[in-house]
């Protein structure tokens, strides 16, 4: 019977230089749907949680979901699962574009990379033809040039390339894996793991078809979802018109847009780098990921006079070409958080992050931390190589390049803000959880997101439980951001539901309009499964607990489910949220209880049994 799985995985041993095709474990597929859940199950089964993330015992898994490559709206996603070198936790980074679907069209749900190569290589996939090739000619090059070269070398402009840039090669701890030049498996340093394996890129071309189990129902299901996505104001109008960047002004008005490394929660010049300003002055097109009917992706162009400003020499970058982004998170991290309001410096830095293969959130946040260290005298101009005052746009652009190449002070930045702040004796300047930097919502102003950050299995992050949807946007229901009550349940529900979305191959942004009652039927009619919404939530809970157990066994214990002192005690000084702190202690015990975990975040035997994780 035909369904939307290919049922095959590629196992690539980079130490041995071998490629094998295997059948996907059907039982696991049923237990975890695919994507994030399935790959995590493989990683946990095949590796030791205490392994060195950058050692060759760690594995790097690329995985798709059953809806990846189908016409289910937003069915573009692939995920990269590995042990994170930044956090030491499980890492699952998620990306769109065309790469994931192309992998399916080549006939694979998943690739497991194991071992490490002695010399730089890339993996070339053309349907059944899978070859490990020498990457000497592209090692050291930026992601963009790498993609162009590989398309040219492989002779197919429809090839899709996922690559690391110099940042991944140099094992920058927040380096990412970039596909289609502007889409990235961004957080937690998955690029460094790829770099540690000397794997420069994967180039894939597939010409095989993907079927669905019940076409008639599938088209009914997806048409219903598409209709909802079209009619919903957020996915039908707001995201297409302004992308995610529209949030800059929203969060700023709320007093929840952290600036100056969380010393403030508003940014006076937010308007200058807002979604509205970008749409009016820099935006040239919307670009969608594969099968996406929303098209939140921004494509911007620098004005002619801006292209000469803050030039750093990078590969073949043509500053006059259009490029992707910037998105909300990136804008925030590299502008307000660093006190910078230069939109063109921001766009350049964002492009450079993409080209060098680096997570702009962690980069921006680490630079902000360095700026605070600098202004506090912990770092001097000699050490930094330049003045690192908040607001220095030139530093923003220059330091991206130096960080990606680990040159000069960039070598310190490349370690992320947790290690940087410790190195310069001010660990309290690290603004994040489990060694990963916060994203763009002040957890003092928005209570629920604080709990989500604290309990997140991959460290501070907004994409595992985007409570902002409820607390700020009112989706699916409005809750008061200042209130702690109900946030434990909200966070748990979002965490579990997100696990399902991530495992399906859909983009989390579809949930601004549709929910599991729409998503689960699409999975079923494509994959030939018969999950109920409750089954799906159970799978989400299973994934969450599986990831959590991995972290516990890796030595990342409940004590790390916390927030920095500045967030818990340092009241917001000014603005509409003046005086607020995050009241994590009011939410965390309840959260543990709802999870069936004890005070140390250890799941009860019953819970483990109930979820089949024994």
């Amino acid at each position: 019977m035909s369904n939307s799985y290919t049922d095959k995985l590629l196992r690539v041993n980079l130490s041995e230089g071998t490629v094998k095709t295997e059948k996907i474990n059907r039982d696991w597929q049923k237990e975890f749907i695919g994507g994030r859940g399935l790959a995590t199950k493989y990683l946990i089964s095949e590796t030791d949680s205490k392994t060195d993330p950058l050692g060759k015992e760690n594995k790097l898994i690329f995985v798709t979901g059953p809806l990846t490559g189908t016409s289910a709206p937003t069915g573009a996603r692939y995920m990269v699962v590995t042990k994170s070198p930044l956090t030491g936790t499980i890492a699952c980074s998620n990306s769109g574009g065309y790469f994931g679907s192309e992998l399916k069209f080549a006939g694979y749900d998943m690739i497991i990379f194991e071992g490490a190569s002695d010399k730089p290589v890339y993996l070339s996939i053309y349907n059944d033809d899978v070859v490990i090739k020498d990457a000497a000619a592209i090692w050291g090059k930026g992601v963009w040039e790498t993609e162009d070269i590989l398309k040219s070398v492989e002779g197919d402009s429809d090839s899709r390339v996922a690559a690391i840039g110099p940042a991944g090669e140099n094992k920058v701890l927040f380096s990412c894996i970039v596909n289609e030049k502007h889409r990235a498996a961004g957080r937690s340093g998955v690029g460094a793991v790829m770099g540690s394996k000397k794997l420069k890129a994967i180039v894939v071309r597939g010409t095989k078809g993907i079927g669905v189990s019940n076409p008639e129902r599938f088209f009914e299901d997806i048409n219903k979802s598409k209709e909802i996505l079209r009619e919903a104001p957020v996915t039908g109008q707001a995201l297409p018109a302004y992308g995610t960047a529209v949030l800059v002004n929203v969060m700023n008005e709320y007093g929840g847009l952290p600036s100056y490394n969380f010393r403030s929660s508003q940014f006076a010049n937010a308007e200058k780098i807002s979604g509205e300003t970008i749409a009016d002055t820099r935006l040239v097109a919307n670009k969608a990921c594969f099968a996406c009917t929303i098209a939140c992706g921004r494509v911007t162009k620098l004005p002619d006079n801006a292209s000469e400003k803050y030039i750093v020499s990078t590969s073949s970058r043509n500053w006059k070409d259009a490029g992707g982004g910037p998105e909300y998170e990136n804008i925030w991290a590299m502008a307000p958080l660093c006190g910078i309001d230069d939109i063109d410096a921001l766009i350049k830095a964002n492009w450079l992050c993409n080209d060098l293969g680096m997570d702009p959130i962690s980069y921006g946040a680490t630079l902000a931390c360095a700026m605070e260290l600098y202004e506090n005298g912990a770092i001097d101009e000699k050490t930094a190589g330049m003045n690192l005052n908040f607001g220095n746009a030139e530093a923003l652009v220059k330091m991206v390049y130096d960080t990606g190449h680990r040159s000069g002070f960039g070598d310190y930045l490349a370690e992320g803000s947790y290690r940087l702040s410790k190195r310069f004796s001010h660990p309290e300047f690290f603004m994040g959880v489990k060694k990963q930097e916060f994203p763009a919502y002040d957890p003092r102003a928005v209570q629920g997101i604080g709990l989500a950050y604290a309990t997140n299995n991959r460290g501070a992050d907004h994409l595992r439980a985007y409570t902002i949807a409820s607390e700020i946007m009112g989706i699916p229901e409005k809750t008061d951001p200042a209130e702690t009550e109900g946030k434990a349940a909200l966070t748990k529900l979002f965490q579990d539901a997100t696990g399902v979305v991530d495992s399906s191959g859909l983009c989390i942004f579809c949930t601004f309009a549709i929910g599991l009652p729409e998503i689960v039927p699409m999975i079923n009619s494509a994959a030939g499964s018969d999950y109920s919404v409750d089954d799906a939530l159970k799978i989400g809970e299973r994934i969450w607990n599986m990831e959590h157990l991995y972290n516990l066994s890796a030595g990342i214990l409940g004590a790390e489910d916390t927030l920095p002192k500045r967030i818990l005690e340092g009241k917001i000084a000014e603005g509409p949220t003046k005086g607020m702190v995050n009241k994590l202690d009011k939410m965390l015990p309840e959260y543990y209880q709802l999870r069936g975990w004890d005070d140390n975040a250890v799941p009860s035997k019953e819970k483990i049994e109930e979820l089949g994780l024994g």
């Binding site: 104001p233 992308g243 960047a245 529209v246 700020i472 946007m473 409005k478 942004f509 601004f512 603005g575």
Partner: protein
Amino acid sequence: MLIKVKFFASLRDDFGKEAVCEVDQNSRVEDLFHKMKIPKDLTKIVLVNGKSIEGNMDYLLSDGDTISIFPPIGGG
């Protein structure tokens, strides 16, 4: 009394970025919307001095308030 009104995203197409509106004492948000002809169905988030009114259109305005009005927005 004078109220500063800030508009965002697509609302700027019709209302511009910012306006100052004079309303009577004891006016509610509802009254201001009425006076400025702001269609309620196009707005999703209304903040008064940065605080969400949580859908309460009867919220009483005070002189010098800043009101921020957003259409439905999403992001992440």
